[in-house]
């Protein structure tokens, strides 16, 4: 039976460090603050917003909510981001995506100043993830996968890692992060032929396709480490991952649950990035 890699254990392990840092910032008159910019009222976004707020309160990070209507004009959205850029009391900005179809997302995401980009959405920060120069903060979900591996002393070096999914939010950045830690990295996706034999051959599988329980028992083999990034609702209205947890946990060596896995760590990484960004403003 697999070891269950619990997100709460990982997040708690760095909570103490974040709380210390945010306390120290307050004694210097800095209130580490995350602005959450939401366009429209998507349920997923609101639910994530609540999770972030709970976590932020726990570690002493303040939240500023900015909500714009779903039909907001692009210029108004750009202006909202520019205000947050200029506001020295804001240290990080989380902007929910995808943005509505009438908005040029590639343009808008790059309006954010890279120093406040605590979720790796700007080209300059993504370039750093790609080049490995380590400037800025990688997308939180990708960083959360790495935190889980680190917490459980799983060294990717020399291991075969298969990332299923190639989004900019998780798949591509986590592939680059695994590569920089000397894993041999395969990026698989919806067009991959013989996916189950590709994943079965891996030491580490990162599942980030966004399809409920898509990866069943036949995709896995003994001893593997499985990080399940998916957060989906199945036909019975239950929150499930991309991996069929019940079927797979008896096969592999270790696996993250959903809920209670990567998602829990992601909000932890997010507030950590905000506190780190606030620290960087000291002495400026």
């Amino acid at each position: 039976m697999a070891t269950v890699l619990k997100g709460s254990e990982v997040a708690h392990a760095f909570d103490a460090e974040i709380i210390d840092k945010s306390k120290s910032l307050r004694t210097k008159g800095i209130d580490p603050t995350l602005a959450i910019l939401r366009v429209g009222g998507r349920e997923d976004d609101i639910s994530y917003e609540k999770g972030v707020a709970r976590r932020a309160e726990k570690v002493g990070v303040s939240i500023r909510n900015v909500v714009l209507p779903a039909d907001v004009e692009q210029s108004a959205l750009v202006q909202a981001i520019e205000s947050l850029n200029a506001d020295t009391s804001v240290h990080g900005v989380l902007m929910f995506r995808p943005l509505p179809g009438h908005i040029d997302e590639n343009l808008v995401r790059n309006v954010l100043v890279p120093t406040k980009d605590i979720d790796g959405i700007t080209d300059l920060v993504l370039a750093s993830v790609f080049t490995g120069t380590g400037v800025g903060y990688a997308p939180c979900t990708a960083a959360a996968c790495m935190e889980i591996l680190d917490h459980y002393d799983i060294d990717p070096k020399g291991k075969k890692a298969v990332v299923v999914g190639r989004s900019l939010v998780v798949g591509k950045p986590v592939a680059m992060m695994l590569l920089s830690r000397n894993a041999t990295v395969t990026i698989a996706h919806s067009r991959t032929e013989g996916l189950s034999s590709v994943t079965r051959d891996a030491d580490i599988v990162i599942a980030c396709v966004g399809k409920a329980k898509m990866l069943g028992a036949s995709y896995f083999s003994a001893g593997q480490i499985v990080i399940d990034v998916g957060i989906n609702v199945d036909e019975g209205d239950t929150l499930v991952g991309d991996v069929d947890f019940t079927a797979v946990k008896s096969i592999v060596g270790a696996i993250t649950p959903v809920p209670g896995g990567v998602g829990t760590v992601t909000t932890g990484v997010l507030v950590k990035h905000v506190v780190d960004a606030a620290i960087k403003t000291l002495g400026q």
Copy 2:
């Protein structure tokens, strides 16, 4: 016996198009011009410079050589790039790297304006390669690998591609380009365990490690497509690739030779990028 994928055939196929475009530019008073910025007098750089000059002359692209001493001050190098940025008669800039150790390469490469970055060295262009937004010009060697596949009607879609090497000049960008064409992509490198079994399992192997004949017969299997990016000098002072061509050509389905393979196409891609960059200045 493998089909030999000749670089000259690929380059000649798009020569006609480049010549047409550069003629058309001249009728509009524009002389498509590539500035080549070299620091010091490394033999490799000078040899590549000559190859580019020959190719440029053939297709009607002018060359401007800028040579700075190996001990140039960083500020002078930055100034030289800024002059080229401002010079409207220059449409693309090729800067040889690695730069001498006293220069902060990450800083210097980003001084170049992305519109003149015809070899994908700036963060903004690299971000585009990573995100797949298609802005700017990918590193020429990586683009050359894709041109060879395209010319010989090898569609990467659904195929297993293994890239051996993870440089920013070839390995990482070509991996992203193969991924955007729906290949399942594995990035292997010096720390990969069991490399020969990883490469043997691929449909397409891109070798870009920079070690003379490192990949011998045991690394390959029947029917594979092999693109050899390496340009190395072996113990007998002969130009050889990363693949042991003689040993491997009897095993695989198709292979690029060295010399006469990727390198020949790379200079073709470079002048193509310059002409395309010149076309973009029309009407500005």
